[in-house]
Amino acid sequence: MIRANAEGNSGEPVTHARFRRMARMRAFDEACLDALRRGVIHGELHVGLGQEAVAAGMAESLRPEDAVVSSHRNHFHALAKGVDARALLAEICERETGLCRGRGGHMHPFDPATNFSATGIVGASLPVALGYAHAFGMQGGDAVAIGVTGDGGSHTGGFHESMVMAGARRLPLVALVENNALAISVPFSEISPTATVAERSSAYGALGLHVDGTDVDAVARVFAQAMDHARAGRGPVIVEATCHRFRGHFEGDPEGYRPREERRRLREQFDPLTLYRARLEAAGESPDVLDGILAAEKSGMKTLLAEVLEDEMPDPAGALDHVFTDNAGRPA
């Protein structure tokens, strides 16, 4: 049996590892929702519920030296890259113990240790990933840079420019487009000139791959193919993973643009955990084992949140630190 090759639970069958990763991601964002309800998270929180299979499928192909640059909806990609869940949650909860000492917040986690970062500006992840890709190209290893964006981000100028440069220089860049068919309220079908993003890859001399982003096995397979391509020096790849967003664009989104009915239907039909569970059970997996994984991840995350909520808030005295290395330029 294939074994999971990434963090934790080594020796666990790959099916369990995939299910566990998705369960952990879901538990993580549920902890965020919990924290939000307690009033400890501010600003527009973007959770990824419904999109777990994409990041979980990606995780297996990631190596420590690879880089991931993500978007406003970044928690799952951070976990996939191996960012410490506690530090991430603490950052989202704006604590001094957070990844960024509470300065960044949920849209701006930066983790030099795992080569993970994000941005709140749509499309701005790709140019940054391109920078990593250039560095990797120079360094001569086979590390790959992944720039994550949504369907909406694929329309930005930065996406195009980055793919042009990566294509011409055959840089190891994978653009992961999570196509959840919506940019806030605007349907992809209405604003895209093409039926898919992946088909635009020929404009960049890139490999274009399309995958059902609700199927973790499929994502793992296709993403591995993309990474192999990029690692082999054969140039950039666009991986488009179609998926569904189960909640509003941000917490508090009134979602006037889609009927409640539709949201319910999406959750019923396309929950990647439910779908995977069904597949595993059909293949003989015991429901208890899966329940056990779900429960373990959920309770682990609950404990984590409880811990994090005990952490200190940043001291206002340090509000002006970290702008410049020498604190110069600060008005007297």
């Binding site: 960044g104 006037g256 509000a319």
Partner: protein
């Protein structure tokens, strides 16, 4: 009934006032059209364009892709084709992806064309802090104001939002119209300063500041959300015997130095409060213009309170530390009144 109606209108959330202004102008002038992300089906993420798509259709209310460079430049082409576009840049923080079309095209074409091509464009956007961290909290009016050729407006109450939006849409000059997210999320009744909002269309001129609270000890000039904070602080220190004249600037370009200088000449003390970054922005420009007007000896004190040149931090404990909130304003007013 009239009273009920007036009350209802006072309870209207700010975004409805803005949507009303746009609708009235679009009705009046068929050359007005709106472009932006989520302004159609969703009616704007804050509701400031609610109802427009149904009323005016998808040619005049364009739900745009995340392609600000394309659609801000589109506004320039539309203006050249005789239209009067309103473009929404959802948050002002995103201007970095499309400033080009705003400052090199819209703002300069009237001049570059020797006055032969006007640019009646409104760039509508939301700014200000509500706990959204460094990339979703900026004001940036100081940035636009530094660049010639664009008017810059940032109203503080429903009445002025409606009137200044109408004025902006009727102006033949490009206007950056900056709403404050905190104000957008308020009910009408939550405004300290809330003149009646008439049903019908009306305009408020750009470049005319309003004295929103008279006073004799210190002149406090500010705009946008900070007017609310200033009023709160002024009330607080009034109880301590300090009389503060609060001026709402309404627009940064044009900047109504006259009104501020007149007040400062009588109080002798000027405090400029600015939620934008401290340096190279509104606070220095306004203060110095007043000094230039009154002479170095015409004032006893000048002070400014603004975001101290740091990105806006995520944690609320830090955000509070860098923002010119009511407490800090009150404290500064006390220092000034107690000073020289």
């Amino acid at each position: 009934m009239n009273n009920r109606l007036a009350n209802d209108r006072r309870a209207m959330p700010l975004p409805a006032t803005i949507a009303e202004a746009i609708a009235l102008e679009m009705e009046r002038d068929p050359s007005i059209l709106c472009i932006g992300e989520d302004i159609g089906r969703a009616g704007g993420v804050f509701g400031t364009t609610r109802g427009l798509l149904d009323r005016f259709g998808r040619d005049r209310v364009v739900d745009a892709p995340i392609a600000e460079m394309a659609f801000s430049g589109m506004a320039v082409g539309l203006a050249q084709a005789g239209m009067r576009p309103l473009v929404e840049i959802m948050f002002v923080d995103f201007i970095g992806v499309c400033l080009e079309q705003v400052y090199n095209a819209a703002a300069k074409i009237p001049y570059m064309s020797g006055g032969r091509q006007r640019m009646p464009i409104v760039f509508k956007t939301a700014g200000g802090c509500i706990g959204s961290a460094a990339q979703h909290s900026q004001c940036l009016w100081g940035l636009f104001a530094h660049l010639p050729g664009i008017k810059v407006v940032a109203p503080c109450n429903p009445h002025d939002h409606k009137g200044l939006m109408a004025e902006a849409l009727r102006s033949d000059d490009p206007v950056v119209f900056i709403e404050h997210k905190d104000l957008l999320l308020r009910k009408g009744k939550d405004f300290r300063h809330h003149p009646e909002v008439p049903d019908e269309a009306y305009t408020v001129p750009m470049g005319k500041a309003a004295v929103v609270r008279p006073g004799t000890d210190v002149t406090l000039a500010t705009l946008s959300l900070s007017v609310e904070h200033a009023l709160e602080a002024a009330e607080t220190v009034a109880a301590e015997g300090i009389s503060v004249e609060v001026i709402d600037l309404r627009s940064i370009v044009p900047l109504d130095t006259d009104t501020v200088a007149r007040s400062a000449a009588s109080t002798g003390r000027l405090l400029v409060v600015d939620e934008d970054y401290l340096s190279f922005g509104l606070s220095a420009e306004l203060t110095l213009r007043v000094i230039e007007r009154l002479g170095l000896t015409g004032l006893r004190q000048v002070e400014r309170l603004a975001v101290p040149d740091v990105p806006i931090p995520a944690a609320l404990s830090l955000e509070k530390a860098v923002l010119p909130g009511p407490d800090k304003i009150a404290q500064r007013l006390r220092q000034m009144a107690g000073g020289r």
